[in-house]
Symmetry: C2
Subunit: 243 residues, 2 copies
Amino acid sequence: MENKKPTLFTCLSPALLHLYDLNNAVVVIIDVFRATSTIASVLYNGAKEIIPVAEVAEAIKISTEIGGIAAGERDGKIAEGLAHGNSPLEYTRTFIENKTLVLTTTNGTRLLHMALTNNAGTIITGSFPNLSAVCEYLVEQNKNVVLGCAGWKDRYNLEDTLFAGAVISKVKNNFTIHCDSSLTAVSMYEQHQHDLHSFAPNLTHYHRLVDRFGLIEDIRFCFTPDVANVLPLYKDGTLIAVK
Amino acid sequence: MENKKPTLFTCLSPALLHLYDLNNAVVVIIDVFRATSTIASVLYNGAKEIIPVAEVAEAIKISTEIGGIAAGERDGKIAEGLAHGNSPLEYTRTFIENKTLVLTTTNGTRLLHMALTNNAGTIITGSFPNLSAVCEYLVEQNKNVVLGCAGWKDRYNLEDTLFAGAVISKVKNNFTIHCDSSLTAVSMYEQHQHDLHSFAPNLTHYHRLVDRFGLIEDIRFCFTPDVANVLPLYKDGTLIAVK
Protein backbone atom coordinates (compact mmCIF):
# COMPACT_ATOMS: atom_id res chain seq x y z
CA MET A 1 0.00 0.00 0.00
CA GLU A 2 1.33 3.40 -0.96
CA ASN A 3 2.22 5.61 1.96
CA LYS A 4 0.29 8.81 1.25
CA LYS A 5 2.38 11.89 1.86
CA PRO A 6 0.91 14.96 3.53
CA THR A 7 0.39 18.06 1.39
CA LEU A 8 2.42 21.26 1.42
CA PHE A 9 1.12 24.62 0.18
CA THR A 10 2.69 28.07 0.11
CA CYS A 11 0.48 31.08 0.82
CA LEU A 12 2.08 34.20 -0.69
CA SER A 13 0.15 36.86 1.26
CA PRO A 14 -1.98 37.05 4.43
CA ALA A 15 -4.81 38.22 2.13
CA LEU A 16 -4.84 34.72 0.58
CA LEU A 17 -4.74 32.75 3.85
CA HIS A 18 -8.46 32.00 3.80
CA LEU A 19 -7.95 29.93 0.61
CA TYR A 20 -6.03 27.27 2.52
CA ASP A 21 -7.25 24.61 4.92
CA LEU A 22 -5.28 25.14 8.13
CA ASN A 23 -7.17 22.54 10.17
CA ASN A 24 -4.79 19.94 11.57
CA ALA A 25 -2.02 21.53 9.49
CA VAL A 26 1.28 22.92 10.68
CA VAL A 27 1.34 26.61 9.69
CA VAL A 28 4.78 28.18 9.39
CA ILE A 29 4.66 31.95 9.90
CA ILE A 30 7.37 33.55 7.75
CA ASP A 31 8.44 37.18 8.13
CA VAL A 32 12.10 37.10 7.15
CA PHE A 33 12.64 40.90 7.47
CA ARG A 34 12.44 40.72 10.45
CA ALA A 35 9.84 39.42 12.90
CA THR A 36 10.44 35.68 12.62
CA SER A 37 14.24 36.15 12.43
CA THR A 38 13.99 38.21 15.63
CA ILE A 39 11.80 35.54 17.26
CA ALA A 40 14.44 32.91 16.45
CA SER A 41 17.20 35.14 17.81
CA VAL A 42 15.31 35.94 21.03
CA LEU A 43 14.50 32.31 21.83
CA TYR A 44 17.94 31.09 20.75
CA ASN A 45 19.46 33.52 23.22
CA GLY A 46 17.51 32.02 26.06
CA ALA A 47 14.37 34.12 26.47
CA LYS A 48 11.74 32.35 28.54
CA GLU A 49 8.99 33.13 26.04
CA ILE A 50 7.62 35.63 23.53
CA ILE A 51 4.07 36.92 23.71
CA PRO A 52 3.06 38.15 20.25
CA VAL A 53 0.38 40.86 20.41
CA ALA A 54 -1.40 43.00 17.83
CA GLU A 55 -1.13 46.49 19.34
CA VAL A 56 1.54 48.64 20.99
CA ALA A 57 -0.75 49.54 23.91
CA GLU A 58 -1.34 45.85 24.55
CA ALA A 59 2.42 45.17 24.51
CA ILE A 60 2.99 47.89 27.12
CA LYS A 61 0.07 46.75 29.29
CA ILE A 62 1.06 43.07 29.33
CA SER A 63 4.79 43.68 29.80
CA THR A 64 4.06 45.98 32.76
CA GLU A 65 1.75 43.40 34.35
CA ILE A 66 4.17 40.47 34.05
CA GLY A 67 7.49 42.30 34.32
CA GLY A 68 8.49 41.56 30.71
CA ILE A 69 10.03 43.63 27.95
CA ALA A 70 7.73 45.39 25.49
CA ALA A 71 9.06 45.57 21.94
CA GLY A 72 7.73 46.28 18.53
CA GLU A 73 7.99 47.78 15.12
CA ARG A 74 5.76 49.86 12.87
CA ASP A 75 6.76 50.64 9.27
CA GLY A 76 10.25 49.27 9.81
CA LYS A 77 11.21 51.27 12.91
CA ILE A 78 10.79 50.98 16.70
CA ALA A 79 7.12 51.63 17.43
CA GLU A 80 6.30 54.90 19.15
CA GLY A 81 6.13 54.49 22.91
CA LEU A 82 8.49 51.49 22.97
CA ALA A 83 12.19 51.28 23.85
CA HIS A 84 12.93 48.08 21.92
CA GLY A 85 12.28 47.19 18.29
CA ASN A 86 12.33 44.33 15.84
CA SER A 87 16.06 43.88 15.28
CA PRO A 88 17.35 40.33 15.83
CA LEU A 89 20.73 41.80 16.84
CA GLU A 90 19.21 43.76 19.70
CA TYR A 91 18.43 40.61 21.66
CA THR A 92 21.76 39.35 22.97
CA ARG A 93 21.88 36.60 25.56
CA THR A 94 23.01 39.09 28.23
CA PHE A 95 19.92 41.19 27.59
CA ILE A 96 17.18 38.64 26.98
CA GLU A 97 18.05 35.39 28.80
CA ASN A 98 15.20 34.12 31.01
CA LYS A 99 13.05 37.13 30.20
CA THR A 100 9.64 37.46 28.54
CA LEU A 101 9.39 39.57 25.39
CA VAL A 102 6.01 41.05 24.45
CA LEU A 103 6.29 41.70 20.70
CA THR A 104 4.15 43.53 18.15
CA THR A 105 5.11 43.91 14.46
CA THR A 106 3.51 45.18 11.23
CA ASN A 107 3.16 41.89 9.41
CA GLY A 108 4.48 38.83 11.24
CA THR A 109 2.47 38.94 14.46
CA ARG A 110 -0.61 39.97 12.46
CA LEU A 111 -0.35 36.85 10.27
CA LEU A 112 0.14 34.68 13.35
CA HIS A 113 -3.14 35.95 14.79
CA MET A 114 -4.86 35.40 11.44
CA ALA A 115 -3.66 31.78 11.40
CA LEU A 116 -5.06 31.39 14.89
CA THR A 117 -8.50 32.67 13.91
CA ASN A 118 -8.38 30.39 10.83
CA ASN A 119 -8.10 27.36 13.13
CA ALA A 120 -4.51 26.46 12.41
CA GLY A 121 -3.64 23.07 13.92
CA THR A 122 -0.11 24.00 14.99
CA ILE A 123 1.71 27.31 14.54
CA ILE A 124 5.48 27.64 14.35
CA THR A 125 7.67 30.47 13.04
CA GLY A 126 10.36 30.18 10.39
CA SER A 127 13.29 32.21 9.12
CA PHE A 128 16.72 31.51 7.65
CA PRO A 129 18.34 31.66 11.12
CA ASN A 130 16.23 28.64 12.15
CA LEU A 131 15.79 26.93 8.77
CA SER A 132 17.02 23.46 9.77
CA ALA A 133 14.94 23.35 12.96
CA VAL A 134 11.81 24.15 10.94
CA CYS A 135 12.54 21.52 8.30
CA GLU A 136 13.30 18.80 10.85
CA TYR A 137 10.07 19.55 12.70
CA LEU A 138 7.95 19.46 9.53
CA VAL A 139 9.37 16.10 8.47
CA GLU A 140 8.91 14.63 11.98
CA GLN A 141 5.30 15.82 12.33
CA ASN A 142 4.24 14.26 9.01
CA LYS A 143 1.17 16.51 8.83
CA ASN A 144 -0.11 18.84 6.12
CA VAL A 145 1.89 22.08 5.94
CA VAL A 146 1.03 25.64 4.96
CA LEU A 147 3.99 27.98 4.56
CA GLY A 148 2.51 31.39 5.35
CA CYS A 149 4.38 34.41 3.99
CA ALA A 150 3.70 37.58 5.97
CA GLY A 151 4.52 39.93 3.07
CA TRP A 152 4.29 43.68 3.51
CA LYS A 153 0.83 45.03 4.31
CA ASP A 154 -0.72 42.18 2.30
CA ARG A 155 1.60 42.71 -0.67
CA TYR A 156 3.76 39.84 -1.82
CA ASN A 157 7.42 40.04 -0.91
CA LEU A 158 10.21 37.93 -2.24
CA GLU A 159 12.30 37.39 0.91
CA ASP A 160 9.49 35.42 2.57
CA THR A 161 8.99 33.46 -0.65
CA LEU A 162 12.72 32.68 -0.78
CA PHE A 163 12.51 31.21 2.71
CA ALA A 164 9.46 29.15 1.75
CA GLY A 165 11.54 27.93 -1.20
CA ALA A 166 14.43 27.02 1.10
CA VAL A 167 12.09 24.89 3.22
CA ILE A 168 10.58 23.21 0.15
CA SER A 169 14.04 22.55 -1.26
CA LYS A 170 14.89 20.57 1.90
CA VAL A 171 11.61 18.76 2.59
CA LYS A 172 10.07 18.24 -0.86
CA ASN A 173 10.55 14.48 -0.89
CA ASN A 174 8.40 14.17 2.22
CA PHE A 175 5.34 16.01 0.91
CA THR A 176 2.87 16.02 -1.96
CA ILE A 177 3.27 19.46 -3.55
CA HIS A 178 0.89 20.61 -6.32
CA CYS A 179 0.97 24.35 -5.90
CA ASP A 180 2.28 27.02 -8.27
CA SER A 181 3.25 29.22 -5.31
CA SER A 182 5.52 26.45 -3.99
CA LEU A 183 6.90 25.83 -7.49
CA THR A 184 7.76 29.52 -7.83
CA ALA A 185 9.22 29.69 -4.31
CA VAL A 186 11.55 26.73 -4.73
CA SER A 187 12.60 27.88 -8.18
CA MET A 188 13.47 31.39 -6.96
CA TYR A 189 15.32 29.96 -3.96
CA GLU A 190 17.33 27.43 -5.94
CA GLN A 191 18.28 30.21 -8.36
CA HIS A 192 19.56 32.44 -5.53
CA GLN A 193 20.57 30.12 -2.70
CA HIS A 194 24.27 30.82 -3.21
CA ASP A 195 23.96 34.60 -3.67
CA LEU A 196 21.27 35.62 -1.17
CA HIS A 197 23.41 38.43 0.25
CA SER A 198 24.31 39.96 -3.11
CA PHE A 199 20.73 39.47 -4.38
CA ALA A 200 19.24 41.26 -1.35
CA PRO A 201 19.51 44.81 -2.80
CA ASN A 202 16.97 43.80 -5.48
CA LEU A 203 14.24 43.41 -2.85
CA THR A 204 11.90 46.33 -2.16
CA HIS A 205 12.01 45.71 1.58
CA TYR A 206 15.82 45.88 1.57
CA HIS A 207 15.57 49.54 0.57
CA ARG A 208 12.99 50.24 3.24
CA LEU A 209 15.33 48.81 5.90
CA VAL A 210 18.79 49.73 4.59
CA ASP A 211 18.35 53.05 2.78
CA ARG A 212 16.03 54.49 5.41
CA PHE A 213 17.28 52.88 8.61
CA GLY A 214 20.80 51.58 7.83
CA LEU A 215 19.92 48.04 8.90
CA ILE A 216 22.41 46.20 6.70
CA GLU A 217 23.62 44.02 9.60
CA ASP A 218 20.05 42.95 10.27
CA ILE A 219 19.67 41.88 6.63
CA ARG A 220 22.89 39.86 6.83
CA PHE A 221 21.66 38.04 9.94
CA CYS A 222 18.22 37.45 8.44
CA PHE A 223 19.74 35.80 5.34
CA THR A 224 22.13 33.52 7.26
CA PRO A 225 20.85 29.95 7.75
CA ASP A 226 20.92 28.27 11.13
CA VAL A 227 22.60 30.98 13.23
CA ALA A 228 19.71 30.80 15.73
CA ASN A 229 18.54 27.27 15.16
CA VAL A 230 15.60 26.87 17.56
CA LEU A 231 12.00 25.91 16.89
CA PRO A 232 9.51 28.57 18.09
CA LEU A 233 6.13 26.93 18.76
CA TYR A 234 3.01 28.94 19.54
CA LYS A 235 1.07 27.53 22.49
CA ASP A 236 -1.49 29.09 24.79
CA GLY A 237 -0.68 32.63 23.70
CA THR A 238 3.10 32.41 23.77
CA LEU A 239 5.99 31.35 21.58
CA ILE A 240 8.42 29.03 23.27
CA ALA A 241 11.49 27.17 22.03
CA VAL A 242 10.76 23.47 21.61
CA LYS A 243 13.47 21.40 23.23
CA MET B 1 15.33 67.61 -16.41
CA GLU B 2 14.91 63.92 -15.84
CA ASN B 3 12.02 62.36 -17.68
CA LYS B 4 10.11 60.56 -14.95
CA LYS B 5 9.03 57.10 -16.05
CA PRO B 6 5.58 55.76 -15.20
CA THR B 7 5.37 52.91 -12.68
CA LEU B 8 4.65 49.25 -13.37
CA PHE B 9 3.29 46.83 -10.78
CA THR B 10 2.29 43.18 -11.01
CA CYS B 11 -0.74 41.99 -9.03
CA LEU B 12 -0.50 38.24 -8.46
CA SER B 13 -4.14 37.53 -7.56
CA PRO B 14 -7.53 39.26 -7.90
CA ALA B 15 -7.67 39.15 -4.07
CA LEU B 16 -4.76 41.63 -4.00
CA LEU B 17 -6.14 44.06 -6.62
CA HIS B 18 -7.37 46.55 -4.01
CA LEU B 19 -3.74 47.17 -2.96
CA TYR B 20 -2.96 48.87 -6.26
CA ASP B 21 -3.95 52.30 -7.53
CA LEU B 22 -5.72 51.69 -10.84
CA ASN B 23 -6.75 55.32 -11.39
CA ASN B 24 -5.41 56.62 -14.70
CA ALA B 25 -3.45 53.37 -15.04
CA VAL B 26 -3.56 50.85 -17.85
CA VAL B 27 -4.67 47.55 -16.33
CA VAL B 28 -3.71 44.43 -18.28
CA ILE B 29 -6.06 41.53 -17.52
CA ILE B 30 -4.06 38.29 -17.78
CA ASP B 31 -5.71 34.86 -17.87
CA VAL B 32 -3.32 32.81 -19.98
CA PHE B 33 -5.23 29.50 -19.61
CA ARG B 34 -7.44 30.53 -21.35
CA ALA B 35 -9.75 33.54 -21.28
CA THR B 36 -7.39 36.22 -22.52
CA SER B 37 -5.80 33.88 -25.09
CA THR B 38 -9.31 33.14 -26.36
CA ILE B 39 -10.14 36.86 -26.45
CA ALA B 40 -7.03 37.48 -28.58
CA SER B 41 -7.95 34.60 -30.89
CA VAL B 42 -11.57 35.72 -31.29
CA LEU B 43 -10.68 39.34 -32.13
CA TYR B 44 -7.74 38.32 -34.31
CA ASN B 45 -10.11 36.19 -36.34
CA GLY B 46 -12.32 39.15 -37.04
CA ALA B 47 -15.08 39.12 -34.44
CA LYS B 48 -16.87 42.43 -34.24
CA GLU B 49 -16.65 42.54 -30.44
CA ILE B 50 -16.67 40.52 -27.23
CA ILE B 51 -19.04 41.30 -24.37
CA PRO B 52 -17.55 39.90 -21.15
CA VAL B 53 -20.22 39.06 -18.58
CA ALA B 54 -20.19 37.54 -15.11
CA GLU B 55 -22.94 34.93 -15.35
CA VAL B 56 -24.06 32.23 -17.79
CA ALA B 57 -27.69 33.41 -17.67
CA GLU B 58 -26.56 36.90 -18.59
CA ALA B 59 -24.52 35.54 -21.53
CA ILE B 60 -27.57 33.70 -22.86
CA LYS B 61 -29.90 36.67 -22.37
CA ILE B 62 -27.63 39.21 -24.06
CA SER B 63 -26.64 36.94 -26.95
CA THR B 64 -30.31 36.19 -27.64
CA GLU B 65 -31.21 39.88 -27.61
CA ILE B 66 -28.43 41.00 -29.96
CA GLY B 67 -28.07 37.88 -32.11
CA GLY B 68 -24.59 37.06 -30.80
CA ILE B 69 -22.91 33.86 -29.68
CA ALA B 70 -23.00 32.92 -25.99
CA ALA B 71 -19.87 31.21 -24.72
CA GLY B 72 -18.30 30.40 -21.43
CA GLU B 73 -16.42 28.16 -19.12
CA ARG B 74 -16.81 27.01 -15.54
CA ASP B 75 -14.10 24.93 -13.84
CA GLY B 76 -12.25 24.43 -17.11
CA LYS B 77 -15.12 23.09 -19.23
CA ILE B 78 -17.96 24.51 -21.34
CA ALA B 79 -20.47 26.04 -18.93
CA GLU B 80 -23.76 24.20 -18.54
CA GLY B 81 -26.41 25.59 -20.86
CA LEU B 82 -23.89 26.89 -23.41
CA ALA B 83 -22.78 25.41 -26.75
CA HIS B 84 -19.43 27.17 -26.91
CA GLY B 85 -16.58 27.30 -24.42
CA ASN B 86 -13.31 28.99 -23.67
CA SER B 87 -11.01 27.34 -26.21
CA PRO B 88 -9.03 29.73 -28.41
CA LEU B 89 -9.01 27.10 -31.16
CA GLU B 90 -12.81 26.98 -31.33
CA TYR B 91 -13.02 30.48 -32.77
CA THR B 92 -11.85 30.16 -36.37
CA ARG B 93 -12.33 33.05 -38.77
CA THR B 94 -15.04 31.11 -40.63
CA PHE B 95 -17.01 30.78 -37.40
CA ILE B 96 -16.50 34.10 -35.66
CA GLU B 97 -15.81 36.81 -38.27
CA ASN B 98 -18.06 39.87 -37.86
CA LYS B 99 -19.95 38.26 -34.99
CA THR B 100 -20.40 39.30 -31.36
CA LEU B 101 -19.26 36.87 -28.67
CA VAL B 102 -20.81 37.10 -25.20
CA LEU B 103 -18.25 35.45 -22.92
CA THR B 104 -18.23 34.37 -19.27
CA THR B 105 -15.27 32.62 -17.59
CA THR B 106 -14.24 31.57 -14.07
CA ASN B 107 -11.37 33.98 -13.53
CA GLY B 108 -10.59 36.31 -16.44
CA THR B 109 -13.93 38.06 -16.92
CA ARG B 110 -14.33 38.26 -13.13
CA LEU B 111 -11.02 40.12 -12.78
CA LEU B 112 -12.00 42.45 -15.63
CA HIS B 113 -15.15 43.44 -13.78
CA MET B 114 -13.16 43.89 -10.55
CA ALA B 115 -10.77 46.26 -12.35
CA LEU B 116 -13.78 48.18 -13.58
CA THR B 117 -15.24 48.63 -10.10
CA ASN B 118 -11.76 49.64 -8.86
CA ASN B 119 -11.80 52.60 -11.28
CA ALA B 120 -9.20 51.33 -13.73
CA GLY B 121 -8.23 54.06 -16.19
CA THR B 122 -7.92 51.79 -19.23
CA ILE B 123 -8.45 48.04 -19.43
CA ILE B 124 -6.80 45.80 -22.02
CA THR B 125 -6.29 42.04 -22.08
CA GLY B 126 -2.98 40.23 -22.50
CA SER B 127 -1.77 36.73 -23.35
CA PHE B 128 1.19 35.20 -25.16
CA PRO B 129 -0.75 35.16 -28.48
CA ASN B 130 -0.91 38.98 -28.35
CA LEU B 131 2.26 39.74 -26.36
CA SER B 132 3.82 42.23 -28.79
CA ALA B 133 0.61 44.19 -29.26
CA VAL B 134 0.30 44.60 -25.48
CA CYS B 135 3.92 45.71 -25.06
CA GLU B 136 3.74 48.23 -27.91
CA TYR B 137 0.55 49.72 -26.49
CA LEU B 138 2.00 50.05 -22.96
CA VAL B 139 5.11 51.81 -24.23
CA GLU B 140 3.06 54.15 -26.45
CA GLN B 141 0.61 55.10 -23.69
CA ASN B 142 3.37 56.05 -21.24
CA LYS B 143 1.00 55.71 -18.28
CA ASN B 144 1.25 53.74 -15.05
CA VAL B 145 0.63 50.02 -15.59
CA VAL B 146 -0.81 47.27 -13.41
CA LEU B 147 -0.38 43.74 -14.75
CA GLY B 148 -3.35 41.89 -13.26
CA CYS B 149 -3.05 38.11 -13.01
CA ALA B 150 -6.42 36.36 -12.92
CA GLY B 151 -5.11 33.28 -11.11
CA TRP B 152 -7.42 30.39 -10.24
CA LYS B 153 -10.22 31.25 -7.83
CA ASP B 154 -8.00 33.87 -6.18
CA ARG B 155 -5.04 31.50 -5.91
CA TYR B 156 -1.75 32.46 -7.53
CA ASN B 157 -0.92 30.70 -10.76
CA LEU B 158 2.37 30.65 -12.55
CA GLU B 159 1.25 30.87 -16.18
CA ASP B 160 -0.23 34.33 -15.66
CA THR B 161 2.91 35.38 -13.79
CA LEU B 162 5.06 34.09 -16.67
CA PHE B 163 3.13 36.30 -19.08
CA ALA B 164 3.53 39.30 -16.75
CA GLY B 165 7.25 38.49 -16.78
CA ALA B 166 7.29 38.37 -20.58
CA VAL B 167 5.76 41.85 -20.71
CA ILE B 168 8.22 43.20 -18.13
CA SER B 169 11.13 41.62 -19.97
CA LYS B 170 10.18 43.65 -23.08
CA VAL B 171 9.12 46.98 -21.55
CA LYS B 172 11.26 47.28 -18.40
CA ASN B 173 13.40 50.13 -19.71
CA ASN B 174 10.28 52.28 -20.14
CA PHE B 175 8.97 51.97 -16.58
CA THR B 176 9.98 52.46 -12.97
CA ILE B 177 9.60 49.03 -11.38
CA HIS B 178 10.02 48.56 -7.61
CA CYS B 179 7.86 45.56 -6.95
CA ASP B 180 8.84 42.09 -5.78
CA SER B 181 5.96 40.56 -7.75
CA SER B 182 7.40 42.02 -10.97
CA LEU B 183 10.90 40.93 -9.99
CA THR B 184 9.67 37.37 -9.45
CA ALA B 185 7.64 37.40 -12.67
CA VAL B 186 10.47 38.55 -14.91
CA SER B 187 12.91 36.19 -13.24
CA MET B 188 10.62 33.17 -13.74
CA TYR B 189 9.94 34.19 -17.34
CA GLU B 190 13.58 34.73 -18.25
CA GLN B 191 14.40 31.35 -16.74
CA HIS B 192 11.74 29.59 -18.84
CA GLN B 193 11.27 31.72 -21.95
CA HIS B 194 12.92 29.14 -24.19
CA ASP B 195 11.23 26.08 -22.68
CA LEU B 196 7.65 27.24 -21.98
CA HIS B 197 6.15 24.21 -23.72
CA SER B 198 8.27 21.64 -21.90
CA PHE B 199 7.85 23.53 -18.60
CA ALA B 200 4.04 23.58 -18.91
CA PRO B 201 3.43 20.15 -17.28
CA ASN B 202 4.80 21.57 -14.01
CA LEU B 203 1.84 23.96 -13.74
CA THR B 204 -1.17 22.91 -11.67
CA HIS B 205 -3.59 24.34 -14.23
CA TYR B 206 -1.97 22.27 -17.01
CA HIS B 207 -3.20 19.14 -15.24
CA ARG B 208 -6.68 20.56 -14.80
CA LEU B 209 -6.87 21.22 -18.57
CA VAL B 210 -4.83 18.38 -20.07
CA ASP B 211 -5.36 15.41 -17.75
CA ARG B 212 -9.07 16.07 -17.29
CA PHE B 213 -10.06 17.59 -20.63
CA GLY B 214 -7.26 16.68 -23.07
CA LEU B 215 -6.67 20.30 -24.03
CA ILE B 216 -3.00 19.99 -24.98
CA GLU B 217 -3.50 21.93 -28.24
CA ASP B 218 -5.04 24.78 -26.28
CA ILE B 219 -1.99 24.92 -24.02
CA ARG B 220 0.30 25.02 -27.06
CA PHE B 221 -1.62 27.93 -28.54
CA CYS B 222 -1.73 29.78 -25.21
CA PHE B 223 2.06 29.57 -24.85
CA THR B 224 2.88 30.72 -28.40
CA PRO B 225 3.75 34.41 -28.68
CA ASP B 226 2.13 36.65 -31.28
CA VAL B 227 -0.06 34.11 -33.11
CA ALA B 228 -3.09 36.37 -32.59
CA ASN B 229 -1.41 39.72 -32.28
CA VAL B 230 -4.28 42.15 -31.69
CA LEU B 231 -4.90 44.59 -28.86
CA PRO B 232 -8.23 43.96 -27.09
CA LEU B 233 -9.40 47.19 -25.43
CA TYR B 234 -12.38 47.34 -23.07
CA LYS B 235 -14.69 50.23 -23.82
CA ASP B 236 -18.34 50.83 -22.98
CA GLY B 237 -18.96 47.23 -21.97
CA THR B 238 -17.23 45.50 -24.88
CA LEU B 239 -13.79 44.34 -25.90
CA ILE B 240 -12.79 45.46 -29.38
CA ALA B 241 -9.57 45.14 -31.36
CA VAL B 242 -7.70 48.45 -31.49
CA LYS B 243 -6.64 49.20 -35.04
